[in-house]
Point group: C2
Chain length 334, copies 2
């Protein structure tokens, strides 16, 4: 079935209010989840909603809590999420980073004791919509082996960078440090397909594109092998240190679920010093150059980061957001 | 042969002075190049010196120029490198970012019209040696195809993150957005070996570990395929915009060589708000956890980013820095 953006927001907000989330936060959380679905990231929108609600029920998310500034010095602030809804806190934190950037050119908010922000790209689009460069990342529970290891001790720690364009066609990268998400591996197995490139190791220790073999080990591959493994470790350390919060190691010791995360949200004013038009022209030169590359597969144009989200958004705005029947039943019953 | 750190610095500085570099800058450049060699990054130390000097001779590097602040607002400064020696300017820029971070918690210096900084990791170690988190990146000439493309229109845009430890055993990631450097591919071919994982495409468009086949196309692989390709584009855009400088696209239109780059150098004070010991303990918990992972290959311990550089540094300090005879002859003749 297809459901409109407004209907999704309404239902999400109602269900969250029923769990004790104040009306204003429930609406904001609903809007973020609906936007993620609108942009085609169903895994961190509508499909994730039942699990999100279960985290309230399990006490990982405090429905009534509010993120709070605990320390401030110049352009760097430290916040405590108090285990409130992660999307709401991340949105507030990026809004604050943008305010700081207006005052100091750059603003950094690091937040501890926060929860899953769902889709990191949302906060990149958020910064770009306000004319800002956005850079943000989160740590996660341990869900990936370090390079050279068998057991999962590092996080996939999604990393986001966004560059604004005045026409709203922002350039937004949203990249976890694992080559594929668990969801993608499971869906590929369900469809009886192979991954397009190796995504992990089988039980014999060989790299494989077979999602079923990877599911048996959950020894998933970091992006670029040793490189993504290293970047995951640094992203975790920097987030936990700046937030004064939990590391991936700490999170792994708490439960088998994922809460109490550390995140960094940075905004930078891209037009502070540049001549009028410089920023827009520089972006367009690069995007035109890259998207007119000689395609590796004839007829298949090279795309820029964020292009697919925007195309899906336009389609879903027109036709409604596709929602799986069984997911909608689960949500309706909450 | 093996040459001491001090001897390397002396020879580099002499040769640079002969090309018109003022004594102070020549010494600093020599120290950076010698340090890169000491840490085992010979490709961006001693082995690169003849090419560096040729860039002065070709006029890409202005030996007498000095990087200069052109604009400043709060914690964000824009600098012009005036095509001075890239290592000297990057060092100055990171020093300035650290000063700003002491004042505002975070400091960002973006520099345009600068030159190759040799090894990005140097500036990460530099920040960490002063107790700061360092994050920096550079753009490059177009040297890699975007994902889905055949021709090289994006840069490998090295990205660096560093976290300080009081004992000097900093955690430092220095990662280009290509899976392998050109130098690594050429060296692997020279040794008659295969790359450990696919590094590019052969003439038939298949991914391959054969360095000879990749040399025929120079269609090298981005880290994590579409992910590193996207990150390369964002790193380039953000650097060029914040510096008001050239993009990878612009650099590719200038010459077939590489100059006039854009770079971002960020420092953040990790202990601004944290309880005493928090930072150190958080780092140690993660590093101990990750390095005690179950190894994929028995007896082969999992390492953290920066660990190899430190081990090589200690060995080379004791035994001297290994230098190829023919490279030393070339340098001596300059």
């Amino acid at each position: 079935m297809r459901i409109t953006f407004d209907e999704l927001v309404k239902v999400f907000a109602e269900k969250l209010e029923k769990r004790g989330v104040p009306r204003e936060d429930a609406l904001l959380a609903g809007q973020i989840l609906a936007q993620n679905s609108l942009d085609g990231i169903y895994s961190h929108g509508v499909n994730r909603f039942p699990r999100l609600v279960s985290y309230i029920d399990k006490g990982y998310i405090d429905p009534k809590a509010k993120a709070e500034k605990v320390a401030s010095f110049g352009a760097y602030e430290q916040w405590d999420g108090h285990l409130a809804l992660g999307m709401v806190s991340a949105k507030i934190a990026m809004d604050r980073a943008i305010e700081i950037a207006k005052q100091y050119g750059i603003g950094l908010v690091a937040i501890r004791n926060t929860n899953h922000w769902m889709r990191g790209g949302y906060y990149g689009w958020q910064a770009a919509d306000q004319g800002m460069i956005g850079i943000c990342w989160t740590n996660t529970q341990p869900n990936m082996p370090a390079w050279g290891a068998k057991d999962r001790r590092i996080g996939n720690n999604p990393f986001v960078m966004a560059v604004p364009r005045k026409n709203g066609e922002h350039i937004v990268l949203d990249s976890a440090m694992s080559q594929f998400s668990y969801g993608k591996i499971e869906m590929t197995k369900f469809e009886g397909k192979q991954l397009p490139v190796p995504g992990g190791f089988d039980e014999e220790g060989n790299m494989t594109t077979d999602p079923g073999a990877i599911e048996k080990t959950w020894r998933v591959l970091p992006v670029g092998y040793w490189k993504g493994s290293g970047m995951s470790i640094l992203l975790d350390l920097v987030a936990a240190i700046l937030a004064g919060g939990n590391t991936v190691t700490d999170i792994g010791k708490m439960t088998s679920d994922e809460y109490g995360l550390s995140q960094v949200l940075i905004a930078i004013d891209p037009e502070r010093f540049n001549a009028p038009g410089f920023t827009e022209e520089a972006i367009n030169r690069v995007i035109e150059d890259v998207t007119s590359s000689v395609p590796a597969t004839e007829g298949k144009a090279v795309r820029y980061p964020g292009q697919n989200s925007l195309a899906t958004r336009r389609k879903n705005l027109e036709e409604g957001i596709p929602v799986l029947d069984n997911i909608w039943e689960q949500i309706s019953a909450l």
